[in-house]
Symmetry: C2
Subunit: 232 residues, 2 copies
């Protein structure tokens, strides 16, 4: 009768407003302390602490000790992916937190999705890599072509190091704002790192928004053009 995974405990874990706020805040990809997360969630420290321990034992978060601070972060890519899909569904059924405003517009243009680039520019990046045959679409996990590997190396990406890591290098991730694919996984993070290191854009400290300067956006579009001459 009962078959397949049991989704209720996980969903219930995410379903509490305070915990949902904590998880949403951690979708910024940054690890945050219990005190910071209490502020994000709008509850006192003790309350946040119990929530955090539940999220950790539930496998959604990891805890890292650093002196007297304890940093919490999203546990796995799979958790981040699930949250993103839930955001898509929430957006689709009209459960938006705020009315559209300038912040939302910036979110739509460029934001972090856990640790990689999402939004319009994230989609552009993905389309560029596909159109230039750097990546080849292969179901949920795109593959890097041999010529693509060279191009990525020229950008300063150490593919060998990425290969060694246990997380997938490439993963397709679906935008809640656009319902289109952008690039997640180790490569997605590596490229976002380049964007930030090149000062093309800065992370908004209070949100998941990524703010490109005009010059930075131009440089980004030049580095990742879309080539239309490749055969469909």
């Amino acid at each position: 009768m009962k078959d397949g995974p049991n989704i209720a405990p996980i969903a219930a874990l995410i379903g509490d407003p305070a915990r949902a706020n904590i998880l949403t805040a951690l979708m910024s990809g940054k690890a945050l302390t219990a005190t910071e997360l209490a502020g994000e969630a709008g509850v006192t420290l003790p309350t946040a602490s119990t929530h955090l321990s539940k999220l950790v034992t539930g496998g959604l978060l990891t805890k890292r000790h650093q002196g007297r601070h304890k940093y919490f972060a999203i546990a796995t890519d799979q958790v981040a992916e699930t949250l993103e899909v839930l955001m898509g569904l929430a957006a689709g059924t009209g459960h938006l937190r705020t009315r559209t405003g300038p912040r939302d517009q910036a979110m739509k243009t460029a934001r972090v999705c856990y640790d990689h680039l999402a939004g319009d520019l994230g989609i552009h990046l993905y389309d560029s890599l596909i159109s230039r045959d750097v990546l080849r679409d292969h179901a949920e996990f795109p593959e890097i072509t041999t010529t693509g590997g060279d191009q990525l190396a020229r950008l300063g990406i150490d593919l060998e190091a990425l290969t060694k890591a246990k997380r997938p290098i490439c993963r397709a991730c679906l935008d809640w704002s656009e319902r289109r694919t952008h690039l997640a996984g180790g490569l997605g993070k590596a490229i976002l790192d380049i964007v930030l290191k090149s000062n093309w854009a800065k992370r908004d400290p209070d949100s998941r928004v990524i703010r490109f300067s005009d010059a930075g956006k131009a440089a980004f579009l030049t580095a990742f053009p879309i080539e239309r001459n490749s055969s469909a």
Copy 2:
């Protein structure tokens, strides 16, 4: 501060055990009555009724009147997709409902994911269509090639009718058992219909399992071979 969609209400809706059971039962793709769902959820009819009305107002289910029966079904592909991803996460964090047994083995081999084929054979189908260039991977929404359209027509699939429907024809859907892609959307449903109509397989009435006969499985593999001569 608060940005992006609000996932808490949706997750809370899914997070109740009775409601999760209802949703999981409806992942069979079949529309079920309130009484049937009460049995699936293990609660009395009044309790199920309140749950169902919450799920409908929450946008997760649709209600269809048919005489004095009321049939409930998953509202959209997006809802089905979200549930599937949640199942993947639940499986990954060890929240399995049952220990692996014969039923689970059958589920792994072939099952319905909402209204299309999932499991090992679902993945095989997808790989076959890609390898034979019937479909071309295009992010989350694969495209049917022109030659592929002819081949599908030869199987008796009315692509024009599918095109008219509002739902996407092709959608990539991720398996919780395999973490690989299979085919969802209108085409996925159409092919499953053919499999059932050809008596290659039957649906288990009590679960999401699809049971292939030996001959049926052979016919299925013949109809959807994997060609290895196409260049990677």
